[in-house]
Amino acid sequence: MIWRNRRKKGKTGKQKALKPSKQEQDTLFKHITENEDQLRMIYQDCSDVIFHAFTIGGNHQALLLYIDGLSNTEEIDDSVLSPLMTATESDQEQQVDTLIKNKVAVTDTKEVHTFSDCVQAISAGKPVILADKSSTGLSLGLSKWEKRAVESPEAEKVVRGPREGFVETLSVNTSMLRRRIRSPKLKIQSIEVGRYTKTSVMITYVEGLADNTLIEEVTTRLNRIDIDGVLESGVIEEFIEDDPYSPFPQVLATERPDIVTSSLLEGRVTILVDGTPFSLVVPITLYSLLQSNEDYYRRFLMSTATRWLRYLFLVIALLLPSLYVALLTYHQEMIPTSLLISMAASREQVPFPALVEVLLMEVTFEALREAGVRLPKQVGSAVSIVGALVIGEAAVSAGIVSAPMVIVVAITGIASFTIPRYSTAFAIRMLRFPMILLAATLGLLGIMLGVITIIVHLATLRSFGVPYLSPMAPMHFYEMKDTMIRAPWWKLNKRPRLTGKYNKYRQSSGQKPDPIRGEE
């Protein structure tokens, strides 16, 4: 019985939190004192809410409400309070609602009829005016709060390309997108997520390029989220993924408006979240996670070469330590004799088998990396010196690890940072450890089985319905132009098939520059 009662309680509690309480839904009263009492009850113990009572033209009683620090007080004084308080006798003839509307010099005003509307407006930083003998209030778009300046994104650096990154304020971010795509086809839909935080989340897409079912899917998945609060877009990411148990990210998180713009133009949908510079792009493929935006700004030959370098180092980041273990433990014959002798010589003093040596060093490296992320600037140099000693000369001369091992760990570490997306690099780095264990138990065969498992897993993955390994599997030869190589811009005439099939061509063909054509 007790259990049953408790369950019931839990259920009702949930419903309560979902719906605004009954008091707030009440429409505004006619009398200002009643309204004030009600609002004071709602904002009990909220010392930052300002209740400013004044009279309009010395006649009508009125009340101005706003939250300190969220609204522009200078504007309130200049264009709201002073015109209203100095209203003349002739103005008094008008109804009080019209009087306020005529006198207030603010662009974004909106009538509010209920207490919940009032609360919503006030929380968003919009001051609300309530007048006596009127059950309609007016909210004023005078929100203003401290914002971080637009800066170059720390985690996604480029040599060539725009330097500005998203900030924590949603309106700044949407303005950055709007500045890049000026067409009215750029749609920005807003929804609210979070019972308490009421975070605004924007679904952004270009009409006519993005698949309607995709937009619907994104909207339903976002609407399904019912949590206390959205702290960062990562929280949303975990709620909308296709396969929550996969180590691979199925959503692209970026703070670069140029990446978002190009994704929107390929028919993808972007989710902007208030309070974080990281926006989410869906759907994505593995290959789009391995591309850098700079690939498209540099000369295409260099970009192609860089892409191949990245693919190579992806494999190295995943496999080099396990290959080292497999070769040393099972397949010594594959190492050329002279190299084998020098390796054996350097391993002579080392007391550990290759597996322990590799695990020791890789875990140390991961620890150093993790420590480095959170390091205060002042101690940074100290840790890097210690790190260099641990993974380096001192460790070798102390006879704890062999010199080739240090090289392997260092190359692997560098390799994992050539992957442009941090979350992808993380997945690869973590998968390295099971691969090392497989290599230690079954040699090259174990590595192959591990690779097969990873590929099978990647083949099952989908991001919002798009196969993760496309365009390699399923294969689309045309799109290899933008994965295996980076074809010159005048060759990339079609959008990616799976996201941009509604509007296939993104530019007219035959735009290859040609000096002869210029002379015509």
Binding site: Y330, M334, L442, L444, L445, A473, P474
Partner: protein, 365 residues
């Protein structure tokens, strides 16, 4: 619909290619060499005729019942009970053959690379990985094959290129010294690999487009034939008469590779690549068993039986033979006829009955 995924014609061809090649590439050169000697490179061409025939028959059967696999239409063709009996026999054959394939793989790895590892670890780990891909469905298998096969083929070509300096072209002569007969004799056992194309029956209903399925099926046979001709030719040019004395001529050929004293002893790499082929082969057979069993029992989903059948598979791989010698004896004596019955004779008989039934139905009208 039990299988929700759809594959393309190209994906079907890419799945079938390693299904045949994976074990054929290891064993066919020695078998053909035994009978055909210096004409062994011709044998795959004759053997491929069996492949073309199998694919053609499978397609004709498929045209009669475009939405069904053999497990479903065998009942429609020869009646419910006989259909179930044929289905059970076929399932047993597939399970048995897959056990043989898994055992061959295990014996090969244990014999050449990991001598002190228990064979059950090798076969068990492979069966587990295959179960994962079969659980993902035909689409997932096709996609993983699409990632692996380009790598597989590239490395095959690299190995062939690296072997070029070691070849002695004179080994090929005299061409057809005793006429055409030896090369045909050398084609008899390898033709059973080509009849494995019969597995196309389990994929045809799940093709996305109905056009070009004949082309892709036949192209796959041609690709296998060319690969085997190249393999046989290179074994012949490298080893000459003694090809048939090796158990795995290709693996021995890989030992010859030596570039600038640096790139040598690459047989472990060859093995690693070959594992990918075996993975696809076992997966395709495994998939046929699983989807066949599910259809035989009229289940609504095949996923729950994937892992139990995997266990059966491991047990079969242990039971098929007591030793490698017994296994190769079975493979060279019983298996060709056994395979012929289920992979070619059975479909042909079903097709004949189906055609007669259709005629009879037309006459009735």
């Amino acid at each position: 619909m039990m299988e929700r995924g759809k594959i393309s014609g190209l994906q079907m061809a890419i799945l079938l290619y390693p299904t045949i090649i994976a074990t054929a590439i290891l064993l066919v050169p020695a078998i053909s060499g035994k009978f055909a000697e210096q004409d062994m490179w011709l044998s795959p061409i004759w053997a491929s005729l069996a492949g073309f025939l199998t694919v053609y028959i499978a397609l004709l059967l498929h045209n009669h019942y475009p939405e069904l696999t053999i497990m479903q239409y065998s009942g429609k063709i020869i009646g419910f009970i006989p259909g179930k009996i044929v289905g059970l026999g076929l399932l047993f054959y597939l399970l048995h053959t897959n056990g043989v394939v898994l055992r061959e793989y295990g014996e090969f790895v244990v014999g050449n690379f990991l001598p002190s590892t228990p064979i059950i670890v090798i076969t068990g780990s492979m069966a587990f990985v295959c179960a994962l891909s079969v659980r993902g469905g035909l689409e997932v298998m096709a996609r993983s094959a699409q990632i692996f096969i380009p790598v597989f083929m590239t490395l095959f070509l690299v190995i062939i290129l690296l072997l070029f300096p070691e070849l002695r072209p004179a080994n090929i002569f005299p061409v057809m010294d005793d006429g055409i007969t030896p090369s045909i004799k050398g084609a008899i056992v390898p033709s059973q690999w080509f009849t494995e194309f019969f597995l196309i029956i389990f994929m045809l209903p799940y093709l996305r487009t109905k056009e070009k399925r004949m082309t892709w099926g036949m192209l796959s046979v041609v690709a296998v034939m060319i690969t085997l001709v190249i393999t046989n030719l290179f074994s012949l040019l490298l080893f000459g008469d003694i090809t048939s004395k090796f158990t795995y001529p290709v693996m021995s050929a890989a030992r010859y590779i030596d570039v600038a004293d640096f790139l040598q002893h690459v047989e472990s790499i060859v093995m690693a690549i070959w594992v990918v082929g075996v993975f696809i082969k076992v997966s395709v057979f495994y998939y046929a068993i699983v989807i066949g069993t599910a259809q035989w029992l009229h289940l609504s989903d095949y996923r729950p039986i994937v892992f139990p059948i995997g266990l059966l598979l491991i047990i079969f791989s242990t039971w098929v033979a007591a030793s490698l010698q017994e296994l190769s004896h079975f493979l060279s004596t019983v298996w060709p006829f056994y395979a012929l019955v289920f992979q070619l004779v059975l479909p042909v008989l079903l097709l004949l009955v189906a055609m007669m039934r259709k005629k009879a139905a037309e006459n009735d009208n």
